[in-house]
Amino acid sequence: MYLGIDAGASATKAVLIDESGRIISYAIVPSGIDFMEASRKALEKALSLHNLDLNDLKYSVATGYGRKLIKADSISTEILCIARAAYKLYPSVRTIIDVGGQDSKAIRIDKHGKVTNFVMNDKCAAGTGRFLEVMSNIIGVKIDELSALHFKSTSPVKITSTCTVFAESEVVSYLSQGYKIEDIIAGLHNAIADRIYLLASTIGFEKEVLFTGGVAKNKGFVKSLSQKIGIKPILPEEPQIICAYGAALTAKSKVSTRNCQGN
């Protein structure tokens, strides 16, 4: 059994896989302010869900924003983990768009699964999950209600500012003018999609395109981004754990390399 743990800015994900690379169990918990504690909780939860024994764990790899702050046998970056998982699950994928709590990134891989190029958002929060969190707070809806409301929208508003702080005042202004919440939400999704489209355009889109990261769970946003790039993306069943899954695959490959060297 191998563990991949992705200590992200807003959620910590633990994925356990078996010798064949199949997912046995996984768990997602909020990261809070203590990555160590969050990673312990995520692992415990993943183990207990399927009555797994920690003693069967052969190797673990940590990734994500907090990877240096948690306990694991080694670390790897999100870029490589996501690429590895994408290649394993969908070998025809050439472009991955990952939108997480604090970063968004686009990754290009070749037919062997090697990363040929990648790009990440600058230090600004626009175009990330954080942007949606801030906005849903202002609008007064829960983050997981955004998607359903998006599909009720008939004429999305135009959010012109790319800055979270300025976009916030735009939203407040739309609210005070009596615009419908669903139209504001669809407008926000379009704004992030525009931002990510620009980011990813610098390295280009090649088919197939895979969406990953927590924000890819928001179907409304996925619709906005698909429309913007004009390609229907592949959407994993649970996009939020792809990076942790890649870390688990890395853990497995570390052990097999070690065994080869041993022989």
């Binding site: 490589l80 990363v115 040929t116 230090k123």
Partner: protein, 402 residues
Amino acid sequence: MKSQKRSSILRTTKKIGDLIMEYFTKAWDRKNEGKPIAWVTVFTPIELLYALDITPVAPEHFAAMCSARGLILDFLEKAEKNGYSQTLCSYSRCGLGYALSGAAGFMPPPDLLLTFRNSCDVYVKWWQSLAMHLKAPLFIGEAPYVLSEEDLDGYALDFTVNQLEQLIKFAEEKFKVKFDMENLVKRVELSDIASELWLKILNLRRVKPCPLGGRDSASDIFPLVVLQGTDDAVNFYRELLAEVNEKVRKHEGIIENERFRLAFDGIWIWHAFDMIKYFEERGAVFVYEPYSEAWAYRLDKSKPLESIARKILAMGLNIDIDLRIKNFMDRIKKYDVDGAIIFSNRSCKTWSAPQIVTAEILNKELNVPYLIIEADMADPRQYAKAQIENRIDAFLETLEER
């Protein structure tokens, strides 16, 4: 990723701090003797100023130094409090903040404000604002934009030589100095020797392992910027070349176990030398930067004014983007670069604008991966350390996987 390897800087590089202090002390001595001080932008004819017995100091160099030493925030905030926007170039905010703080630190107050319109969009308005705050006379030189190598001769050259002649006339009238051609020839010769030495040093970075790293080249450039035409610059580069040669003879790299050879496109991020160290500790060494070549220009002492004019014209940001990119790609091959770090600079759009094109060519034509880092060269408030290190990790990991 293996980390924490030995990383160091050269013995000679460590002397730069003292050389800078000596240079500013001399400038104040000259000021106190009643000799004129010129505040210059960094692509102006400083050999000519030395020949006219005018001492140049450069607010851009001063800003870089303040940023590297953690002293810049007071000046940035002073400018901002006086209404200069945070979106303005940080060098200009530092220079204006220094002027508004009384100009009483390292740089003596100016008797002349000299700039050339040859590289930067901000220079003219910045210098006009300085002239307003400091009540000093202003000289703005013009230089035509260079579209092809041929432009370095012909009308553009004649025009720029004429600008230099006007500057001489202006200085002679203003400061009652006498232009001495013999002195200029000597300055041009010294400047040429320093450039030749520096180019030899840079060329030795092609050697594997690379004997001189990014923290060295970033510091060692300074004599070329403000001391061109002096013995001090020549002596410094002689010593540096000797040390680099010695390292080459001993097959000694500036870092232990060189794994990746990198290029850096942009002005250095002066407040983040730790970032260069972060690369070095992970086995990645900087072997080439266009910035390091920017001030190295061979001059012909038999044609002193023409040579200086040509140097002003050929400055990297005054030449056509295609030429700039071509030069960069040539060096990528020559220095056997594994990856490029492209610094998209909040302050310097003239430099940053064509970077996406550069990146695309690097990736598609040369199959050299790149990483774009966004920050500001001098303003430390625009730097997100954790995120930048995250990207560096990912980049080095992808280089490793190739």
